[in-house]
């Protein structure tokens, strides 16, 4: 089954978080198909993988994108590392291509548009996809925990950066 040409390739990007995981489904770089946060309270990895399996069945992506947790800029815990490995195994079993994107690469890609931190990157993404604007968290103060909705924007960022094969700067991603 042809899951799409490069221009319309359907990508499922997943960003694990403390609550569960954020996800985004894109067709190409222009079309955001679905997004959200899936919550898991106990047995997080097993339940997350079950929910991700359902997403894979629903959207049949050509590519699954996850964070390169061993890459530069990553400060992920062991549990998330295991979950990302589990996601990769799920994708490989279904013969879906898996791509890893490091946080450093995301920062680099967005830096040309002047976005230097997570909030600015999320704002740039909300500019590009206005349907995400209602989900944009408030600016995070030093004493605040990260808002759970940020994982949606992280997932979209991974998807956008992974779609670029030549490391196109994020200024090209703006609407």
């Amino acid at each position: 089954m042809n899951r799409g040409t490069n221009r319309d390739t359907r990508i499922l990007a997943i960003d694990p978080s403390t609550r569960g995981f954020g996800f985004a489904v894109l067709e190409g770089q222009q079309r955001l198909i679905d997004w959200g946060v899936k919550e898991t309270k106990t047995d997080k990895n097993r339940r997350s993988l079950k929910l991700i399996t359902a997403l894979l069945e629903q959207y049949e992506p050509a590519v699954v994108v996850v964070e390169d947790y061993a890459g530069k800029g990553s400060r992920r815990c062991d549990r998330v590392g295991k979950l990302i490995k589990g996601i990769s195994s799920l994708a490989l079993k279904r013969k879906i291509r898996i791509k890893s994107v490091s946080r450093a690469k995301v920062k680099q890609a967005f830096s040309e548009s002047g976005a230097s931190n997570k909030y600015e990157i999320a704002t740039a993404i909300a500019d590009r996809f206005p349907e995400l604007a209602p989900r944009l968290p408030r600016f995070r103060k030093p004493w605040m925990s990260e808002d759970y909705r940020m994982s949606i924007f992280d997932a979209v960022a991974f998807a956008l950066v992974s779609h670029s094969s030549s490391g196109t700067a994020i200024s090209n991603y703006r609407a």
Binding site: M1, N2, R3, G4, T5, L32, I33, E131, P134
Partner: protein, 118 residues
Amino acid sequence: MAYKLENYLRTYRKRSALSQEEVAFLLGCKSGTKVSRYERHARKPNLETLFAYEMVFGTPARELFAGVFQKVEKKITSRAQLLTRNLSRATPTAMATRKLQILEAITSGSGIESDKKK
């Protein structure tokens, strides 16, 4: 050709920020369960509901149900090409010529209405 999802109802609903219950109300359904089934491709809407969706999201049915439309388009194009071959073998008449023009419009994707504009 890119492989499309059966429908993009969930995409359009989330873009509109409406809940399943709210869409159900607009469609005249009793609960959001039906809307959920439509979005998960577990159930196909009837014609009236299809038009209601067009109105709610301001998007033609062929875009809302892009995957279904893609399959139908492929079948119709194939049948139109077969019919074209059969008609081309017959004795040319004014009627046959007109039919071939219409079939050409169908296979080119422009449709009968655009042929009327010629």
